[in-house]
Symmetry: C2
Subunit: 691 residues, 2 copies
């Protein structure tokens, strides 16, 4: 199928419109890219792009929108095989593989061996186990998965049902699935790939329940990959996204493994069934890796949101609709209702990325302290990691959705690049702690900290950190005057909107008031379950405060004035978005903290004004995120702006259109279904027989 | 692949939990079903179920989650063919076909000939054209589409580029696509199916631009279905949803059709090129069909939301997580944070369905008036239809998403029934007027009405209707005291929450204050583009008011007291949800209308209290919507509660698991990709050669 060659371009051409937007840049996009992403991200991304370009056919992702799940699985396995060959040949590293898949923006059935199986072994093996399990895993001579979730239990891991019972007679553990609901489920890399599983099981020794511990269970034959006796394993079937991951199910009919297979860093069962736990291990260290995983999600969410915003910004800059008579139609990004949806997301993507550098630095700092036995920063870090994972994933997932809607009808096409992508990233609001559950973790920390700070007997036990400093400022008597405490008093909305300090004060006081309000209820007997709705707002307000704080800290690094200037605009856009999205929170400021009705209303106008300022630089700002056309995989978001040409080209690749194979499909549809309906014949006779 | 037969059930079994919920019913679900749906819906649904059950294999939809797009297209075409045979045999009607597809909850490539092509012909053909086009279309001897949207233009239909130029020499129109962007796009039933298109084209006669008019263009040969000369047609490729619809593209290289093919109800071009328009036609009549389409969307959205809520309610009633020691774990629907997300959606689904009966009645009334030349009710009806289409589709689409998230990890599985479904229904926020654009239509009507009411010179020209009555009440001087006008004064939150009248007054005053606030800006020079953000809130507030009003009217029909009681609870849940979601709107009530801070805060508590009341009846309430397991197509939402058994059964049907064909896929994956990685061999050698 071909397109008529007679068709001429409409004026102005979309690519010219995009170029015109780029000319408005008040800063160097290259400089901005280095400032916001940092050299490390840029270098590893460039390295991945080189690898991808070395095998252009293998890594061409343009066809994925037409493939069935089985075809996608095959495509990703083919890529994994080549990548592993390159690694064995010393051409690339294991880290490069992860980066390549990140640029391709999908995954392979090997991903969970990389991101869960190997890290768990690194943390929980003793020396002999490192030799037996970790080393072959690192060379992909075994492939593993982390089998925790069961079909009946996700959040409540204490209630997992799979058992591992010590059998003294044979010096083994018997791993068993007692019920249908104890079937392991959702386990990535399990459905068709893994040879081994790290199974989280309820450990029983001499009839006594010891607790939940990880044990390595071989699943498939190393000879022919067939499931081993007693192992029932398969793929859990199609999902909303994450299609190339073989999430699997697994249950055990009394499978025996050597005692050696119990990972022994935190637990030891001796030959004669004595259970010991090393006494130099603080159980809190395991929080460290949770923090790391959540920090990684937070950064990825920034990049993901950046991808969606890149598509929506470029497309809405070149898509024209309505306008003045005898003029080219107006780019839809010039309409306030479009700006209002896209620009705050652009600002938030920048904030997430900038903030995440600081978040990793804080994580690093906490880890170093823990290694020296100092756990003082862990509690806040844990609360922040819950809050930021929750806020970034929620903001990014629904941000992608907003970007899709902004693209109008064409957003609904797979070629927008926003649909497969939305399906893939949606899981981030559920995994590593469902967002609704995580809110409680943060809220609990905040309410408890505020309570302890307000009680003379516990005050000194409260660690001083970013969070408690704000609570203390507004809770404890101090030397500050009302005008210092409530710095927004008598300030105009425009003064507030342009000031880091005033905006931070408002954001800080906002979360403190919400914490105080809930605290009063909690300490008069309201349960945490009853407080779960309020906890959501608290966790959000705190995450928004911390995001702004970390971003501001990141901005303390030196940069050109024109870089700083536009980043400050983005900061204001984001902060005003947080403050104005539910102004009832601001109406709740009482007494000397009161914000006047007109201040609040004018903050809404300032928000619109800052959005307009950022809009001018929108295309250069998304360019500076440096997201390649390969990762975008989108007609609408192409760097060169050839939107409609690419869109039509992709439509021609649709299987029912393709010359030869597509003709066959259409002939079949016509001969067997459409023709008989048109001709009104009975199904047995050919539609052509009576022509 | 089979599951171990040794696995026992967990206690309590999910089906028992669901039965226990049903025992709590305070009303007859059968009675409720008749009350809320009405006999017409129930009868046509039952009729469709009978037809489906007569061909169980053909209509079995359990496999759709595993099919590629081409396979899905084939499946739906097969169904269409059988349905058309049944129709020709007189066993079923055309309406039955639509109902069957509604129960199956998908579509076939013939849908647009039914819902757009035939209705357009019905409205715009003259008598000869009815014979030539409408009659064969009604018997499916031709299949047509409605070709309006182009790749470059959707919302701004005036800027469509396709032309139809009168050629006096041959008495023809020449239909042409002058540019790439003029290519028709998104046209349903076009990609592989249609023989004809009703093309919206810019009509030119004797060099003069007449306007946009519909013209019938044959597309494919009636002999072999191949595209006719100059016709470039194909499928636009994969989409987020609506997979079985062959949305297509189409452009013309100077295609000639007889002058006869211009649909002549509203325009006439004579043999010698004289253009006339029948003078007995008021152009406003075309609004009528838009209203009808939007009313249909509004009702469908109620049913769709009801489907999602059925799944989420049943599943969260049987899914247990955490709880008291030595007790069965707690059904997650007992947690406030789950209730808070599901129950208001349940209430809104009921409101949408109940309201839509009244909406259709109003539409009917308006149509009858129009037929008598009375257009007085059209303006409000149009504004309401924009507002209700927007509000219902937005609420339902994101309600489905909320239901999916409530189902946790299992919501992400295709077997939840919520993912394919979300993709299919998402388009409702874009089609028939993008929701963001529609808001302006409603806001304009409201602001203008308020302004006209407030000006003595125009006051009398304002039609009295549901909307203007509320505006007039709060704008014009009348006999009412402050306590009558602002009936919430000195009322406790619990008095408000339990009273239809007080809730309606608050909802009414809320939209009036928002209208007044924007009106003041508009009439001091703010443009409508600048007002687009405020327009969203106004359109929502008005739609919520009208929804509650229409629902309340529907409830005036007689029913058992226990039916009325629970419906009143649902009304309060929905109304309180509207009022408390952004309490800044309530804080904006000034002067004698002021709501006290404590009133507002306590309304939030009342909201939670009403949610808890409704929660008790949640399962009987979703049962009463009577949505069949066939339509749900969900493991999680099954009527019998056998959630995990069905879920596992469906996983076993995943293509890579299936005995035989699945074994082959896995062997292929192992031999060609996984094995070589594990063994570290080069791609050419077999992984088994060196064992």
């Amino acid at each position: 199928m071909k397109f008529s060659a007679n068709l001429v371009d409409s004026k102005p051409h979309t690519s010219d419109s995009l170029e015109a937007e780029r000319k408005k840049a008040s800063f160097s996009t290259d400089e901005m890219m280095h400032y916001i992403l940092g050299d490390k991200i840029i270098n590893s991304r460039n390295r991945a792009l080189e690898i991808i370009k070395s095998e252009p056919e293998l890594f061409d992702q343009r066809d994925i929108y037409y493939l069935s799940r089985t075809e996608k699985l095959e495509k990703s396995l083919k890529q994994e095989k080549t990548l592993q060959e390159m690694r064995r040949q010393g051409k690339i590293t294991a880290q490069d593989i992860a980066e390549v898949l990140d640029v391709l923006d999908w995954t392979t059935p090997f991903a969970l061996t990389r991101i869960m199986f190997i890290p768990t072994l690194e943390q929980q093996c003793n020396e002999e186990q490192r030799e037996a399990f970790l080393k072959p895993a690192q060379d992909y001579r075994i492939i593993g998965c982390y089998a925790q979730t069961e079909v009946g239990h996700g959040s409540n891991i204490r209630a997992l049902e799979t058992t591992a019972t010590f059998i003294p007679e044979t010096d083994e553990f018997e791993v068993n699935s007692p019920t249908l609901t104890s079937t392991k489920w959702w386990i990535g890399s399990l459905g068709i790939t893994s040879t081994h599983a790290c199974v989280m099981a309820q450990l029983y020794v001499k009839g006594k329940h010891i607790g939940l511990f990880p044990i390595i269970v071989p699943l498939r034959s190393m000879v022919d990959h067939k499931p081993l006796p007693g192992v029932n394993v398969g793929d859990i079937g199609p999902k909303m996204g994450f299609t190339t991951m073989d999430n699997g199910f697994l249950n055990f009919d009394k499978v025996r493994v050597p005692r050696f297979n119990l990972l022994q860093k935190y637990i030891n069962v001796s030959r004669d069934g004595i259970v010991t736990r090393p006494n130099n291990i603080d159980p809190r260290v395991t929080y460290g890796s949770m923090v790391y995983v959540r920090a990684t999600i937070a950064r990825n969410m920034g990049i993901s949101l950046g991808k969606a915003v890149t598509i929506a910004t470029r497309y809405s800059s070149v898509r024209r609709q309505f306008g003045e008579p005898n003029q080219p139609e107006t780019p839809v990004l010039d309409y306030p209702i479009v700006q209002y949806r896209v620009i705050p997301l652009l600002a938030k993507a920048y904030l997430m990325i900038g903030m995440s550098h600081e978040f990793f630095a804080q994580y690093q700092n906490t880890t170093e302290r823990i290694n020296q036995g100092d756990f003082s920063t862990l509690k806040e870090m844990h609360a922040i990691s819950c809050g930021l994972k929750r806020w970034t994933s929620d903001t990014a997932v629904y941000g992608v959705d907003t970007c899709r809607h902004v693209c109008g009808g064409h957003g609904f096409s797979m070629f927008s690049g926003l649909n497969e992508f939305f399906g893939d990233m949606y899981q981030n609001i559920i995994v590593e702690g469902d967002n609704y559950v995580l809110a409680k973790q943060t809220a609990r920390y905040l309410v408890k900290s505020a309570h302890d700070l307000n009680s003379p007997s516990t005050r000194s036990s409260v660690e001083v950190n970013d969070t408690t400093a704000v609570i203390a400022k507004y809770s404890l008597s101090n030397e500050l005057s009302s005008d210092q405490l409530f710095s927004w008093r008598n300030k105009s909305a425009s003064e507030i909107a342009g000031s880091y300090e005033l905006l931070m004060d408002l954001l800080g006081y906002r979360f403190v008031t919400l914490v105080d309000e809930l605290g009063a209820k909690i300490y008069s007997g309201q349960t945490w379950d009853e407080s779960s709705v309020a906890s959501q707002a608290i966790a959000t307000a705190h995450a928004e405060y911390i995001t702004c704080l970390y971003f501001m800290r990141y901005l303390s690094r030196p940069a050109n004035q024109n870089i700083k200037q536009i980043l400050k605009v983005l900061f204001s856009v984001a902060a005003l978005s947080f403050l104005t999205k539910n102004t009832a929170e601001l109406f709740g400021f009482q007494g000397k903290a009161k914000l006047e009705y007109t201040q609040i209303k004018e903050l809404e106008s300032e928000y619109i004004r800052y959005i307009k300022m950022a809009r001018v630089q929108a295309v250069p700002l998304v360019d500076s995120l440096g997201i390649s056309d390969i990762k975008l995989n989108s007609s609408l978001g192409r760097h060169d702006g050839n939107v409609y040409e690419d869109y039509i080209q992709r439509a021609l690749m649709e299987p029912v259109n393709v010359d030869g194979s597509g003709d066959k499909i259409r002939e079949h549809f016509y001969n067997d279904y459409i023709g008989p309906i048109l001709k009104g014949y009975s199904p047995s006779s050919s539609p052509f027989s009576k022509l």
